[in-house]
Symmetry: C2
Subunit: 425 residues, 2 copies
């Protein structure tokens, strides 16, 4: 396991830059110090001199058809695993380089924020580690694949906190971004929005590919040369995915989490094509459903918490056709005013309660400003969900009837290539 | 009643041009004839030499706040009627001139279509008649107002067939429009769309104003100097409009019309703010609701005509809040595919069954092409409805779940000035 040591060493080495940069401002002496300034300048300038990243960012990403995952893995073997590793070995550095370029194009003041700097360095570190794996040569043997797979696992873990870090980062440099645009909220949001949309969908793609590889590895088994089918799954693809099942599971989980705050949270009622099954990649859609249900439950519970009556159910309609499928989540949580609707698609870093979470009705109700209150629950879950839905070739739309309730429409394309519209990961 | 004679004479005189122009091509000799060509050129050139229209088109239209109608007419008297006539006398020629300019900007080949030419001439005629009324001086006395009111009545009648004429006109010159854009369907539609959106919403405004005047006149009574309140109405404004009542009446009417074709058409079920009442101008919204219900009924009946079960109801949700109100009409008529949805907002003149009508299930089902079939019912009712909704300061949106059904959202602003967003007529 010398590999893991290398990753750890690399990680420590790259981190030095970040800790130096950020600790300097926290130094008890503070103020201007020529030596310190010189050091800062030098370490910062290092970010400028990385030709590998620069060159990799020039290459085009090779996005895989979701349908391709379905077919190459029909009866996966070690050969498939080697191919998968090789693809990732050449593809991931390109994608990471593109994202690093994205960080480099952000306003300087923004990237100097310790949280954002930390994420950029994670990307740089991952780029280095993957592109220098096996001395830059493609893996060929099974033990190399084992090592590479293990490396992927570590990197997935390492990047687990990226969304939280970016949330905190953009939250604390909100005023700087506003300053750059002379107080123009719209432009400030646009900058954050386009950066996060790209960064987070790219991240989703990378993670789907990495997880697909890891799951394939699991399914083939450590010492087996043959595929052991498990639960109709091939990597991240469920060959007989049943939306109704996932919807019920997610709704149940969120309903249970509300039981601490509320005697009888609303029920979820399904109708439409509840028996439909088809091949799909549930990871992204599960995330979206979770965010939408969180909002629906919160809206209904807040709107009806003072009523003795049973809460109106959340109605879910599943419509599956050859081309795509739509999941409509309709709540009777009193809806939103149009000025609120226009804001829910923005990444909200300005409120203290930036990230959406399950509970906290009391906190919500105690907020003074009504607009703020209505928006409080909408953190970054919804804009991420919209970005994900679009990345998956579909869309997420909201129609709200203020005073009555909200209808959310999630429409996604099938991945089955016979249906023509498979998205690319 | 010398006035009516004048209108009739004017009408005959102006029509000469149109009939000459169109009959010339039907002449048995056909072919090129220098005399005929000369005549044609001269009569056509007359359209070029009208400085009155040219000058009036330079003026800005004065759009009234819907709320203003509500207030000026609180206790209307003869004075209000004189003011109303004066406003119309100066405003209508400006609006008509703007529309005439619109016709003049259309491609020449389009306006030479006899149906379209006929409509343009109606506009020219109305412009002349109104701007020359009372020798161009503002009305002051009550008998002048009587005459003017009567003139308005005739003109409203005269323009009753405008939508049909434009439909027929654009339908028969469809190929010419395509030719102009070298076969580019999108650009051809854009031309027709923007012309019709403007012409038809301007027409709605003119008709609302004229009808308001006529209704005020009726309500004040021929020989009475004081207002006789009737059904909470002031002109076209209903001071306590109840959306649920109009929705029920329209739905009943359309349901009855289907009873000739179908044993048990779907029921319409209302929920939400069914008791809500507020001041509004129902004319435009009634038109829109009628079009939307026609589509909803047709969709449900077509989708379930082979089923022994009772047809699923059409669910209508009314959501009224301080700023606006939304009417959602949700049917279970199997919905539309996305390629169909993209087309329903276009004015469809290409199909033989261009205009939407109540019946004809048999005809619909016999159409060969499935896309054509799905679109068959969508004539110009829906695009007109959307244009109307936007003119009234709101919008009309459709979310369809292919395989399940369609949800239509009509959102409109209140006219109550205390609610801030009154639209202008």
């Amino acid at each position: 396991m010398s590999l893991i040591k290398t990753v750890a060493q690399q990680a420590r080495r790259t981190n030095v830059v970040a800790s130096k940069a950020s600790s300097s401002s926290a130094h008890p002496l503070g103020g201007y110090n020529e030596n310190k300034a010189q050091l800062r300048r030098e370490t910062t300038a290092q970010y400028y001199r990385d030709h590998d990243i620069h060159n990799a960012a020039k290459k085009d990403s090779v996005r895989l058809k979701a349908a391709a995952l379905l077919f190459t893995g029909r009866i996966p073997s070690d050969i498939d695993l080697i191919r998968s590793a090789q693809y990732l070995q050449s593809e991931l550095p390109v994608r990471l380089a593109h994202r690093i370029k994205g960080f480099r194009s952000l306003p300087f003041i923004v990237v100097t924020n310790p949280h954002i700097l930390k994420v950029m360095e994670q990307y740089i570190r991952s780029f280095k580690v993957i592109s220098s794996f096996n001395d830059g040569r493609m893996v060929k043997k099974q033990d190399q694949v084992e090592d590479f797979t293990h490396l992927l696992e570590i990197l997935l873990d390492d990047h687990g906190s990226v969304i939280d870090d970016l949330t905190q980062g953009f939250s604390s440099c909100h005023d700087h971004v506003l300053d750059i645009f002379d107080g123009d909220e719209g432009k400030a949001h646009e900058l954050v929005q386009s950066f996060l949309d790209k960064t987070l969908t790219s991240r989703l793609g990378i993670r789907l590919l990495a997880q697909h590889h890891l799951l394939l590895k699991d399914q083939i088994g450590k010492n087996s040369r043959y595929f052991i089918p498990r639960h109709d799954r091939i990597g991240i693809v469920e060959s007989r995915w049943k939306p109704a099942k996932d919807i019920e599971a997610i709704a149940r989980k969120i309903r249970e989490s509300w039981m601490f705050h509320c005697d009888n949270p609303p029920r979820v009622k399904l109708n439409g094509h509840t028996e439909a099954e088809f091949p799909y990649i549930p990871i992204g859609v599960d995330y979206i459903l979770q965010e939408v249900f969180k909002n629906a439950f919160r809206a209904v519970i807040e709107a009806h918490s003072n009523s003795a009556r049973q809460m109106p159910p959340i109605d879910v309609t599943i419509a599956v056709n050859r081309e795509d499928f739509t999941i409509r989540i309709a709540d009777r949580g009193k809806g939103m005013k149009s000025d609120v609707i226009n804001k829910i698609w923005r990444y909200h870093f300005t409120t203290a309660r930036g990230r959406s979470n399950y509970g906290g009705v009391g906190d919500l109700l105690s907020m003074a400003n009504s607009n703020e209150k209505e928006l409080a629950g909408y953190g970054i879950g919804l804009p991420i969900s919209k970005a994900y839905a679009e990345y998956l070739g579909g869309n997420l739309e909201i129609k709200s009837m203020s005073g009555i309730g909200t209808d959310v429409y999630l429409t996604l394309k099938h991945i089955d290539p016979h249906k023509g519209h498979s998205f690319r990961i």
